[in-house]
Structure formats: C-alpha cells, structure tokens
C-alpha cells in the first residue's frame, strides 16, 4: 500500500516538474514584456522592476503604425470565426450526404476529398497566387486581400480533414433517428440542421479547436493572399511586419508576441474543459 503511494507521489512530482519546465518559456516572455529595451538586454531573467512598464509597452504596441493591433485583431477574428463556422457547416453537410448516399460515386468523391490531405500547401501556393490574380482579372472580383477570398481559401483547404473526421463520426450515428424524422415529415435540410447538426457537437468542437489554431496562427497563406501590408492583414502578419522593422527592439517584439498569443490562450483557459474532453474522447483517430 505504502509502496503504491510512494509511486503515485513520484509521478505527481515528476508531472509537476515537467509542467514547470513546459511553462518556463511562457514565464520568460511574460516577465520580459514588462521591461524597457535596455533592461531586457541587461537582465533578461530578472523580474521587471517597474510594473508600469507593462502599460507603457502595451500602449506603444497599440499606437504603433507598423502593428495596427486593433485592425489586425479584428481581421484575424473575422477571418477565423467565419471560416470556422463555414468549414464546420459545409463539411458537415458534405460528409453527411456522402455517408448516407451509398453509391460508388459518393465513395469516389470521398476519396477525392481525402487525396487533398496529402497535398502540402507548398505545392499549391505558387499557382494559387497566379490563379487568384487571373480570377481577379477575369471576373473583376478581387480575391486577393479580401475577406471572402481568404475565407473561401480556408474552406477549400480545411475541407479534407473536416470531412474525414465528420465522415467517421456520422457513420456511428444510428439510422433510426433519421428514418423516424423522415416519417414525421422532416425535409432533408431540416433533418440535417435540426437533428444531425446537434448530434455532431462533440466532433464540431474538436474541429473548431484544430482548425481554429491553424487559421488563427497561419502565416504562409495570409502572407501570399493578403500580403504583409494588406488592409485585411491578420495578427501574425502584423507581428512579422513589426519584427521586420525593429530588429533588436525586444520590448516591442515581445509585447506584440504576448498580445498576439493572448486571445487564444484566454479563450483556451475558459473553454479548457470542453476542449480537453473533445480532444481526448477518441474523436481524433
């Protein structure tokens, strides 16, 4: 009994130590975000001497023209949230009809989507830029540096993984529910939006997390479609722009880094229970 307890305690201590090691980088960044540039160079590991420096640094970032923090945040927020919902709903719709229509066509289409998972972004990025230019010239609708251009691109790139995960999940939903609903006079769209979509909630949350982290932090796609100086540029682009203009000014760079990462971390801390549950409930396989 006591031996078991000692082992448990050892595990507990080991986990705690590892957690502290994992948090060290966060801590170093957080304490340095509250110092002047000179202080950071001289004493990077000490605690900040004047807490008011946090306020000054944050104010500097908010008023800096190279960052434009608020517009960057707003752009990131709009692009991420709209893309997430669109990917979720559209992929869910596609996956549902692909599962429920048992023909060779639906299997072929599913395989076609899956093939998109092995295409890395680097392979399509150069022609994509050209294609968007061509589409802009041809139709007169600009896809570069617009919200809908980026969002549509994310729907396309997010579809394979999302459809794959939804497909696996929908297969496990019993058909009886849908048959009962059809007998009660449900139309197909009603059936999907009022009955199937609520059932899909666990996997929907998992996808929100996976796609959300990807889209919020993505750099390569926005830098190509929006550009570093675009008017719809996202937060990672702002940070890159700032770090490019002030190479050694760590007070500005670190504060902007903290401000860029903060929204996601706060969101994660609030929804942590659901996220961890969704991720470990066996949905990702």
């Amino acid at each position: 009994m006591s031996k078991k307890r000692v082992t448990a305690l050892m595990f507990e201590i080991l986990a705690l130590l590892l957690l502290i090691v994992f948090f060290m980088p966060f801590l170093i960044i957080l304490i340095n975000a509250g110092k002047t540039s000179q202080e950071i160079i001289n004493t990077p590991i000490a605690l900040p001497s004047h807490l008011v420096q946090y306020y000054i640094n944050v104010k500097n970032i908010f008023t800096n023209d190279n960052v434009k923090y608020f517009s960057g945040f707003l752009n990131s927020f709009i692009i991420t949230s709209v893309s997430l919902i669109a990917i979720g709903v559209f992929s869910g719709m596609a996956a549902w009809v692909l599962v429920r229509t048992k023909t060779k066509y639906s299997y072929l289409i599913f395989m076609f989507f899956l093939s998109g998972m092995v295409i890395p972004f680097q392979v399509v990025m150069l022609p994509l830029v050209r294609l968007l230019e061509l589409m802009g010239n041809f139709t007169g609708i600009q896809f570069k540096d617009t919200y809908y251009g980026v969002i549509l691109a994310y729907i396309g790139f997010g579809a394979p993984l999302s459809i794959f995960l939804f497909h696996g999940f929908i297969k496990s939903i019993p058909l009886d529910i849908e048959e009962a609903a059809i007998i009660d006079g449900c139309t197909k769209p009603q059936l999907f939006f009022q009955i199937i979509l609520p059932i899909l909630k666990p996997i929907f949350v998992t996808l929100l997390v996976l796609n959300g982290m990807w889209i919020w932090n993505d750099y390569l796609l926005p830098v190509l479609i929006i550009g570093v100086n675009g008017k719809t540029r996202t937060l990672p682009l702002s940070v890159a722009n700032l770090a490019g203009s002030y190479v050694r000014e760590w007070d500005l760079i670190l504060t902007s880094v903290v401000l860029a990462a903060l929204p996601v971390i706060v969101l994660f801390l609030f929804a942590q229970k659901h996220i961890i549950k969704g991720m470990t409930s066996g949905a990702i396989k």
């Binding site: 669109a86 399509v124 150069l126 940070v239 880094v257 991720m279 066996g282």
Partner: protein
C-alpha cells in the same frame, strides 16, 4: 466489342447530362419552386407534379434524375446542394492550383508578369538533378524529419503515459502540456529566438554563445527540434491519451494478476493496442516536419551559415560551398520562387517535395498498418 462501346457512350452521356443539370438545378429548380409556392399561397392552386413524357432522350434523363419530381431526382438534388459548397471551394483552391502547378513546373515562368511563359518540358526537373543546394535541402529535411518524429513521439507518449496515471491534477497537466500548441509557428519562432539568444546566453559560462549562432554543427537543428517538440508534443499526447483510455481495464487487471510488471504490461498490452494512434501520430509528425516553414524563418532566418558536407561537394564536384544549416525543402522552395524569381523551378521542386512526402507517408502508413491489432 459492341457492349464496351455502349458503356463508354453511356458514361459520356451521363457526364454530359450532369454538367447540363448543375446550372438547371441551381437556376431553374429554385425559380420553379418559388413560383409554385407563390401560386399555392395566393391562388390556392394545387400545383401538378407532372413528369416528362416526350421522346427527347436528354430531357427524359434530366427529368428522371435531376429536375423532376421522382424520388431519385429529389435524392440527387439534395446530394448536389449539400456537396457543392465544400466541393467547389476545394476544387477551386486546392485541385485547380495543383493541376496548374504540374503545368507551371514545366515552364520557365518567372513570377513577374512579363507575359513570357514558354513550355520547357522536363528541363526544370533535369536541372534539379544538378542542383547541389536542393539535394542538400532534401538531405537535411530527411535528417531533421527523422529526428523530429522520434523525439516528438517519445516525449508525447511519455507524457501521455504520465498523465493517464491516477494523478490529482490530471486535467491541469493535460491542459498545460497542450498549451504551447496554441502559439503559432511565426510567434513561436520569435519567442524562442529571444530565449536562445538573450535569456540563455545571459546565464554566462558554457551558455555564453547562443546555440543558434554556433555555426558549422548541428546545434541549430537541435534547437529547432526542441522548439517544435515543445509546441507539438502536447497535441500528439492528446491522441495517445485517447488511445490509452480505450485500452480495456480488465486486460490490464488480468495481466497484473498473471504477474506482469509495469514494463511488460506496456510492452505487450498497451503498445499493440495503441498501434493505431502510432500510425496517426507518425503520419502527422512526418507531414508537419516536412512542411516546417514559418518557425524556421522567424527563429533563425534559415539557420546559421556553414559549409556543405564534403561528400555532397564531391558528388557534385564543387569547391567549398556555403549553405545555411536549416535550409529545409519548404524554405528552399519559397526562396527559389519569391527571392530568385524562378517560379517554374520552384514549382518543380514543390512537385518533387509532394512526391517524396507522399511516398514516405504511404510507406509509413503501410508499414504501421501491419502492426495494428483489432480487439
């Protein structure tokens, strides 16, 4: 012979019908339904649901399968309506550029809109055979990916085993280890650049020279692997946790009663049962390692310069050539395209990159699938 021709004819006929049907479904059917609704609402007219009785073969097919009132037509319409949003986005933004890319890799496209794009056949691919820099990038990418995959999976599996023990703060540990994953590639690079270049060097002594600046050795790659492991291990850990939780408890208990110790249990029960998670995790880490781009750029701008290994120099009979130690394939492609303005060559590299990645992942999945056990 005749039967085969018949099949081909039928196939092309159905493809033709399909392309005719899609615009009709999106323009004609909604308008017709609106009119019917209008009639029913204002004039109390019961609309007739006639089907086509003429002899025109095309109209007959269209009516029966796509725009009429038969069950089959209803089903097909729902199928198309539901599939089209993601399908069209996927085709426009992924498949079309991919096909365009195969064509561009055979041209001398520069990326500047000069209007002179000539078809050069396989010349770009042939040129890659003589490109020592690209071979070096390829070589470094393979080494980096192999090391990265091993380190991430070992760390992630260890963490997963640790947090599935009966600990008091399990949820906090899980959330804590997962948290670095929330930080994006670019921001991650800046954070660690600061830690390596400023925080660690300020300790003095053996740490005085930054690990990133020390050229001519493998330190920069080691630094990158630490960064990526810190970020990605928590995510892979989640996949292992999901798998470990699915291992039936009675199997573990039975083996304990039979006298198996912890290592034996891990080796003979847990490993085979989480093999599926291994397949997924190895695939994910392989793809991420290969695609690594933004972290390297913000961490080291491609890595400290060093000399190309002498065996590659001898292979291509070059003199001493400077290279950057973290010039991996993804970075090489980007630089070729947007710094040197050789889009055609860059795209050819990207296609090679795709084929290599596809080959490795198929090999890995095939090899790992054999080891999976069904319960």
């Amino acid at each position: 012979m005749k039967k085969k021709q018949n099949f081909i004819q039928r196939f092309f006929f159905s493809v033709f019908i399909f392309f005719l049907a899609v615009p009709l479904i999106f323009i004609y059917v909604p308008i017709r339904n609106l009119i019917k609704l209008f009639q029913r609402f204002f004039f109390r007219m019961e609309s007739k649901e006639n089907s086509y009785h003429g002899t025109n073969k095309i109209l007959k097919h269209l009516d029966k399968y796509f725009i009429g009132y038969t069950d089959q037509a209803h089903k097909n319409r729902t199928f198309i309506y539901f599939l089209l949003p993601s399908m069209s986005a996927f085709c426009i933004f992924v498949i079309t550029p991919f096909i365009m890319g195969i064509y561009f890799s055979m041209t001398n496209w520069s990326g500047l809109n000069t209007g002179h794009v000539t078809f050069v056949g396989l010349a770009n691919y042939a040129g890659l055979l003589n490109d020592a820099q690209f071979f070096y990038s390829f070589f470094r990418t393979v080494i980096y990916s192999a090391l990265n995959i091993v380190v991430i999976n070992v760390v992630a599996f260890g963490l997963a085993i640790l947090v599935t023990q009966k600990l008091k703060l399990t949820n906090i540990y899980r959330a804590g280890f997962f948290m670095p994953n929330l930080i994006g590639g670019l921001v991650l690079g800046y954070i660690w650049q600061f830690i390596y270049n400023n925080a660690i060097t300020s300790l003095g002594g053996p740490f005085a020279v930054s690990i990133l600046a020390a050229g001519g050795n493998e330190h920069a790659m080691l630094a990158l692997i630490i960064v990526i492991t810190w970020q990605y291990a928590g995510y892979i850990m989640m996949i292992y946790i999901a798998a470990i939780q699915n291992v039936p408890q009675d199997l573990i208990e039975a083996s304990t009663i039979d006298g198996a110790n912890a290592v034996q249990r891990l080796r003979h029960i847990t490993f085979p049962l989480v093999a599926q998670a291994f397949t997924v995790s190895l695939f994910l880490t392989l793809v991420t390692s290969f695609k690594q781009y933004d972290t390297i750029v913000s961490l080291t701008k491609g890595g400290p310069p060093q000399l190309m290994p002498s065996w590659i120099q001898n292979l291509y009979s070059l003199g001493q050539t400077p290279v950057k130690s973290l010039n991996l394939m993804a970075i090489n492609i980007y630089n070729t395209a947007f710094v040197e303005y050789k889009m055609g060559t860059g795209q050819a590299k990207a296609i090679i990159f795709f084929i290599v990645l596809l080959g490795f992942s198929l090999l890995q999945v095939h090899y790992n699938k054999k080891k999976e056990v069904e319960l």
